[in-house]
């Protein structure tokens, strides 16, 4: 049951072979038992989850079930949910219980999905290792001495370790794709504006985007069909008709032009990751796709541009945490300004404070043009590079991260090294493009999954097979392959296809 796809679970629930209550209990037991050592969850509340499961069972009995009714889904603790603590991994919000639901939570609740718990994450989604959480580091299910990636590391670890059938995350500079890659699961960052940011605690608003984690692209499509949709309460929500992200799952790859940027295969990329990604691209070609060499000449500038823009927006967004209206307030202070300063010094962790300080600096008088304005111009150059590349190809394929998962503590004291881990992911956020990470192999001698990512102008899932290839911590090395596509019509589609499993 732990390896079942979302459609298999839905079938079992519909056929009454299994109740939502039983299914939810199975996963809750697994979280509390073997999963506890991973620290993947910040909050689990069996009473709340089981009440939802009972309601879903009644809905199924009444014949009113949808594809996710009765299925437990874990949510990154960046999505606020009424009745649940919503901490964003921070001491600042450690005791915050939201009086309202995020749009994403509303959509899952309306679909009858069960909230399985709130997953651990880097504090305020700032990090690439899920080590900066006030609630302790998350561990990689494949190797507990290594990070699961971040910032949505709890969601990635939960899906990889079969603690949840699926999960949600958020991606500002790679926070869905990078942990998906390092944990060996599938993760999708949708086009900016497709998933509402309402109730998703803000980090960098021009980049933040919610998205799903699952073990296959078909499951991602099921989740996207629930998560995506216009929301008038998010001023940047895309107003366009609802679409079926699963509609192209069976579409063959023949004719698909896969762009391969030389810049993504240069210095800094671990050879074993590069060769696994190359092998995966070769598999795409065998399935009918055409390889096209493309160039993203400004790719190397994406990290410095991102680490100007994201901290600048964060310094503004996080100014709301002042100890007055909600969240943590320092116990001792002398005057209002001292209360702000102590509250923020005590309530935020070191990485959040660093980014607020960097953001404050790059926005300050005399430095705005040199840093912030310049970075926004470079962002335009990066977006233009993608537009030119997509004139020649439908998708772009490359590695998600330069290496497989690194050791806990390895980069904590060196923020620059941590930031450089985002080299292949941040450009998609800067350009607003969708991007997907799917597993494509493992490091030899260690069960560390390889990462691969594909940004595309529009996302869709397409499958060449009705069977499902997944990665399993127990079974080892099978791989699913997924691609994103850009369609001349401008409609979104999500593609999934299966090749033979890659053996490391």
């Amino acid at each position: 049951m732990f390896d079942a796809s979302l459609s298999e679970l839905a079938d079992a629930l519909a056929a009454r072979r299994l109740s939502s209550l039983e299914l939810t209990r199975l996963f809750l037991d697994r979280i509390a038992g073997p999963g506890a050592a991973l620290n993947a969850f910040i909050t689990v509340d069996p009473e709340l989850s089981l009440a939802q499961a009972r309601a879903s069972d009644r809905r199924i009995a009444a014949g009113e079930a949808g594809p996710l009714t009765g299925i437990p889904v874990a949510h990154k603790d960046i999505f606020v949910a009424e009745g649940w603590p919503s901490t964003c991994g921070s001491r600042m919000l450690a005791n915050f219980a939201s009086p309202y639901d995020a749009h994403v939570i509303e959509r899952f609740n309306a679909a009858g999905a069960v909230i399985l718990g709130k997953t651990n994450m880097d504090e305020f989604a700032m990090g690439s290792s899920s080590e900066s959480s006030w609630f302790g580091a998350v561990r990689n299910p494949w190797d507990a001495e290594r990070v699961p990636g971040g910032s949505s590391g709890g969601s990635a670890a939960a899906v990889a370790a079969r603690l949840a059938p699926a999960a949600t995350g958020s991606d500002t500079g790679g926070s869905i794709r990078q942990p998906a890659a390092l944990s060996g699961v599938c993760g999708l960052k949708p086009t900016y504006g497709v998933v509402s940011r309402y109730g998703m605690i803000a980090f960098a608003s021009s980049l933040d985007q919610g998205g799903p984690f699952a073990r296959s692209a078909a499951d991602l499509a099921v989740l996207m069909n629930v998560m995506a949709g216009f929301d008038p309460r998010d001023s940047t929500s895309l107003e366009r008709p609802a679409e079926d992200y699963a509609r192209d799952l069976a579409r063959p790859l023949k004719g698909l032009r896969v762009g391969v940027p030389a810049e993504y295969f240069g210095a800094g990329l671990a050879p074993e990751v590069g060769s696994a990604v190359e092998a995966a691209i070769a598999a795409l070609e065998r399935l009918g796709a055409t390889r096209v060499d493309v160039h993203l000449p400004n790719a190397g500038l994406s990290v410095p541009a991102y680490y100007v823009i994201a901290p600048a927006e964060a310094s503004s967004n996080l100014s709301r945490y002042d100890g007055v209206r909600y969240g943590y307030r320092a116990a001792q202070y002398d005057g209002l300004v001292d209360m702000y300063c102590r509250t923020r010094a005590e309530g935020f962790g070191p990485e959040v404070k660093r980014r607020i300080l960097v953001g404050t600096y790059v926005l300050s008088h005399g430095y705005y043009d040199a840093y912030y304005l310049k970075a926004q111009k470079i962002r335009r150059l990066i977006a233009r590079d993608f537009a030119e590349a997509f004139a020649r190809c439908d998708v772009i394929a490359g590695p998600t991260t330069p290496t497989a998962a690194f050791r806990l503590g390895e980069k904590v004291e060196d923020p620059v090294q941590m930031y450089l881990n985002d080299i292949y992911t941040v450009a998609a956020n800067l350009a607003g493009l969708p991007a997907l990470s799917v597993p494509c192999g493992f490091v030899r001698g260690r069960a560390m999954p390889f990462p691969r990512t594909r940004p595309g102008a529009k996302v869709a899932c397409r499958s060449g097979s009705s069977s499902s290839a997944t990665t399993s911590p127990r079974r080892g090395c099978s791989a699913s392959r997924t691609s994103t596509s850009r369609r001349p019509t401008g409609t979104s589609a999500c593609r999934r296809f299966l090749g033979e499993g890659l053996r490391a």
């Binding site: 900016y192 209206r325 600096y361 930031y419």
Partner: protein, 93 residues
């Protein structure tokens, strides 16, 4: 460029984050390391390039000037660190 200690303390004050003298040198070293990374953008010729402030070049939507939210003062006040009658409160010291 590198930040001096007084500049670090000035930025911390602007950001409303207390930095103790014991922490200051460490914060300075890490910020200067990060700024070293960011300075790569200096060398890029961006003459004539329009800044891209958002992931999508769209105009923000306006909504009708109508009351749409119900009064949930009690719920929103309940999450404040301290509140008194109809107000969120904060002692001066």
């Amino acid at each position: 460029m590198s930040l001096t200690l007084p500049e670090v303390m000035r930025i911390a004050a602007l950001a409303r984050i207390a930095v103790t003298p014991a922490e200051a040198a460490g914060v300075q070293a890490q910020l200067n390391g990060i700024l070293g990374l960011l300075e790569q953008i200096d060398a890029v010729d961006t003459a004539g390039v329009e800044p891209m402030y958002h992931a999508r070049d769209v105009t923000l939507r306006l909504r009708a000037d109508e009351v749409t939210e119900p009064d949930r003062r009690t719920a929103f006040q309940a999450v404040a660190p301290r509140s008194r009658t109809a107000c969120i409160s904060c002692r001066r010291s």
